[in-house]
Symmetry: C2
Subunit: 198 residues, 2 copies
């Protein structure tokens, strides 16, 4: 039976972006089904008592070297977002709405790209609207949808589910119920999908 | 000119142990000189405001899966130390003494092995003495040396040097002045030693 790669992420997490550039290829190479699961990382931090690694100045400084190194390793574009940290509640609710409404395939790459390739200010609702419009989406409709209860409930449910499964940061992958934390564990994720973990 | 792999570690850090099992082979493959630098991780945490990842229960639980996975990946023995966390001040001073006194090659593998393979209680000075004696070292002499100023100064100097260079956790490697944090960055360390970073 084909395995599923469950991928929990938040658009505000640069390592989520980096990993996200790889997960489709990993799923393809292993014959797995990819299930992207938008969660609110701030909610995960609050529930677990964890903090953003960016809060430690020394770690943040090192990440300024490490993140572009991964981007070059993967051969993908990347820049740190100058407006970081971004409150991603609206963006993550938008991802939940996009999944509910069947437009996630357009929404998802547009938001990650705007955040970590184009470095746009996604704290600004007008910028978000411009990004969605450019992706062929109805920005006004998204503005309404993210205030509706089914959308709020879906994001909260996925975030609670993540915490209940032991998630404490992003990105986090699951294969056969086994958790893998971080972009840097994707090689193990791929082995797990092949049933070839050491 | 041959490069140097500078490797900052603490015996209380399981990922330091895992990385330590690899650094000699990496140096050999790349023709690099290996410089192991014992530092006091507790001192690094205090200076930087960082905390042990083991303090977050969810992360600690996940590490219980991740650490043995790395050990199997590397093909090295490993078990979590049941007496963790261990106050490593005496052990790290011992490493400084061993380097000053020319017996580090015997001291270093014996302590890492006792901690992360044999799971011994290295908070107990008698256990430490037994480990050193079994390694052919003079335990009594070590007990005296770690109270001497040159040894204390050396550990403090290396720890301060690490913090000044941006170290915030263990293990941390440097190649040509560039920092790489974590056991999981060793593939990048090896590329850097080859002059082949992307």
């Amino acid at each position: 039976m084909a395995r599923t790669l469950e991928f929990y992420f938040d658009y505000g997490s640069p390592y989520s972006y980096l990993a996200d550039t790889q997960v489709e290829a990993i799923a393809k190479r292993t014959g797995a089904t990819l299930a992207r699961k938008p969660m609110l990382l701030g909610g995960v931090f609050k529930s677990t008592g964890n903090h953003s690694p960016a809060e430690l100045p020394q770690k943040s400084k090192w990440s300024g070297f490490d993140m572009p190194l991964w981007a070059r390793h993967y051969g993908v574009p990347f820049q740190r977002n100058p407006f970081f940290p971004v409150n991603t509640l609206a963006l993550m609710r938008g991802a939940a709405a996009a999944q509910l409404d069947g437009v996630f395939d357009r929404y998802h790459p547009a938001v990650f790209r705007a955040m970590w390739v184009e470095g746009r200010n996604l704290n600004d609702i007008k910028e978000v609207a411009a990004v969605l419009t450019a992706a062929g989406l109805d920005a006004q409709r998204f503005g309404n949808r993210i205030q509706e209860q089914d959308v709020k409930d879906r994001l909260k449910a996925t975030t609670d589910e993540a915490v209940a499964r032991g998630v404490f940061g992003a990105p986090t992958s699951f294969v056969d119920g086994q958790m893998f934390f971080g972009n840097d564990r994707l090689p193990f994720v791929e082995l797990a999908l092949k049933g070839a973990l050491p």
